[in-house]
């Protein structure tokens, strides 16, 4: 499989502080790649280096086979990438169309190319209803649509998104995700994103987790879940039943809080056996599969989530 991003021992130092400590990873063409980590883990610094916005201290980065570093190479890379920033970077008093065409024009496209690309972004982001509206008057979700449209107006092969759905309502998040997925599937665009929403990372093809400037884990959502989570069974016992001694009798690993017993199980299926044994004693139960949230929390255990 062709690699579009190949990072080896990338690091960034600010004076004596090392924000990124020699990370290495690869992104395959057309993949949806998620970068996870708490604030300050080094995600943004890494993404800024890949986008040519920040100079690396050491290491090798190849994007589409081009080495990051020299001016000519960086220009080649910039043509191939689109960036959706965390905050709005379009002009509030310009219409969506003006905004996107102005930014598109900086890529030295011909009039015809720009027109074609404008139709291309329209197809994926449905801008017709907001094209003539001033960017500043749009809702959060409409703004995000325009932001993504701006990032792909030059038809990049790699799209970087820095927390694209933070602060959006659930409906808009779904819309944004659909657009991103559609772009990935239909145009084979590589998607590289950072996010705080674990359930979003769960749909990625590959995940890299950063902590304190280092990569602490990588893999598919499935392998990470296997590695870091376990399924759990929650039970409430009938009045008068001593849950603690019952569970201890069955040699189960558990924790209790306000009458709710949390039992660790090997798999959800395994919970069935336990429930059969306990069915006369319990008033209610719930079985939960390990989630990406758990992966994230487990990896960052001693670091408080933000």
């Amino acid at each position: 499989m062709e690699l579009v991003i190949d990072v080896k021992n990338l690091s960034k130092k600010y004076g004596s502080h090392e924000a990124v400590k020699g990370i290495s990873f690869e992104v395959k063409k057309g993949a949806l790649f998620a970068f996870l980590g708490t604030n300050g883990a080094g995600k943004s610094t890494s993404i800024e280096m890949l986008c040519t916005l920040l100079e690396k201290t050491s290491g090798d980065v190849k994007i589409n086979g081009v080495s990051l570093g020299s001016r000519t190479n960086n220009y080649l890379i910039r043509k191939a990438i689109g960036v959706v920033f965390q905050q709005s970077i379009l002009d509030t008093r310009l219409t969506v169309e003006e905004n996107i065409l102005h930014r598109g024009n900086i890529y030295k496209l011909t009039k015809k190319e720009l027109q074609e690309n404008w139709e291309f972004v329209n197809r994926y982001l449905h801008l017709k209803d907001i094209a003539k509206k001033k960017y500043g008057t749009l809702s959060g979700g409409q703004k995000r649509r325009a932001d993504i449209a701006r990032a792909i107006i030059h038809k990049p092969t790699i799209l970087f998104l820095d927390e694209p759905t933070t602060g959006l309502d659930p409906q808009t998040r779904v819309f944004v995700w659909d657009a991103i997925k559609k772009l990935q599937e239909e145009t084979n665009m590589t998607i590289f994103l950072t996010t705080h929403y674990m359930e979003e990372a769960a749909v990625a093809d590959e995940i890299v987790v950063m902590k304190e400037g280092k990569i602490v884990s990588k893999g598919t959502p499935h392998t990470l879940k296997e590695q870091y989570t376990y399924d759990e069974l929650f039970v409430f016992f009938n009045n008068g039943v001593d849950g603690t001694s019952l569970l201890t009798q069955h040699d189960l690993n558990f924790a209790e809080k306000n009458g709710e017993y949390r039992v660790r199980v090997q798999s959800t299926i395994h919970a069935l056996d336990i429930l059969k044994e306990l069915q006369n004693f319990i008033s209610s139960f719930e079985v939960k599969k390990g989630s990406m949230d758990d992966v994230f929390i487990r990896i960052n255990e001693e670091v408080p989530l933000t």
Partner: protein, 290 residues
């Protein structure tokens, strides 16, 4: 479309559509007009009447004096306001967005300067038209073509100098908060540093020297000479002594330790300042983006 043209066009739209920004960029001008209407005009007429008998031309001459100050201030405040877009873009990451495109940082930076020159020039021209109408409305005469050409030339010098001077100041700050403070300081100080709020002769000698050394004040001197020469000759007809006293007291031309600055001296001083501030700005820019 050409990248540079496109960038300048974008900055220009951002400026034009922000009505408050346009208004605040000419706020100092409005203050000058108000101060003038309230007391500067009367004090000056009174002062001149001590030197020569009152004539019809007197009011026009004083109006022209005010207009000269106004035109040099407008060049400074509008170019600075236009450069504010650069600071805003820097802080709101718009600059980062531009930098993800295959364009040199220097080219993007230059687009802000070109936009500032353009906005300064256009607003100064509008100012000039407004001033001409004001002078005629108050009983003065229409400018000759030669005078208009001369004034446009001075505007070009004033706008260029103001723009590079403001670029130098802008490169010293990097947040909108700091820029807003800078804007207030420049907007307030410029009227004094060009001898518009208070005539040159009314301030202590060392302050006079500071004003004379301040390059932008030389654009005011050039504007005064160009605008007032005809009226000056008429008002002070047959009173060369009084004319000279007035011209020095009110900054129509500068006298430094008995040496009189000619118009050419002022032009040279302005051009030299443009070069110096351009070089300092380049150095600052290089240092900032190492």
């Amino acid at each position: 479309m050409n990248t540079m043209l496109n960038l300048v066009n974008r900055h220009n739209k951002v400026f034009r559509r922000d009505r408050m920004l346009v208004f605040f960029s000419i706020l100092s001008v409005i203050i000058v007009i108000m101060l003038y209407a309230i007391f500067i005009q009367k004090t000056q007429v009174d002062a001149i009447e001590q030197l020569v008998p009152a004539s019809d031309q007197l009011k026009t001459m004083v109006n022209e004096w005010m207009v000269a100050g106004l035109l040099s201030i407008i060049a400074v405040t509008t170019t600075l306001a236009a450069l504010g877009i650069y600071i805003k873009d820097l802080e709101t990451k718009v600059m980062a967005d531009f930098l993800t495109t295959p364009n040199a940082r220097a080219k993007i930076q230059l687009s802000y300067v070109i936009n500032s020159l353009l906005i300064g020039f256009v607003l100064s021209l509008i100012g000039l038209i407004a001033c001409q109408l004001f002078i005629v409305f108050m009983g003065g005469s229409w400018f000759s073509l030669e005078k208009i050409a001369q004034l446009i030339g001075i505007i070009a010098l004033a706008v260029t100098l103001s723009s590079v001077f403001n670029l130098f100041l802008t490169l010293l700050v990097s947040t909108q908060n700091a820029f807003s403070t800078l804007n207030t300081v420049v907007g307030t100080a410029i009227g004094f540093l060009c001898g518009v709020y208070v005539p040159l002769g009314a301030v202590p000698e060392f302050v006079q020297k500071i004003i004379m050394l301040f390059p932008i004040s030389h654009t005011t001197v050039l504007f005064r000479e160009a605008l007032m020469r005809d009226s000056l000759d008429k008002v002070f007809e047959g009173a060369p002594e009084a004319a000279n006293t007035y011209e020095i007291q009110f900054g129509v031309h500068y006298e430094w330790n008995d040496v009189i600055f000619s118009q050419l001296d002022s032009v040279i001083y302005i051009v030299a300042a443009i070069i110096v501030f351009t070089l300092i700005s380049l150095w600052l820019y290089g240092k900032k983006n190492k």
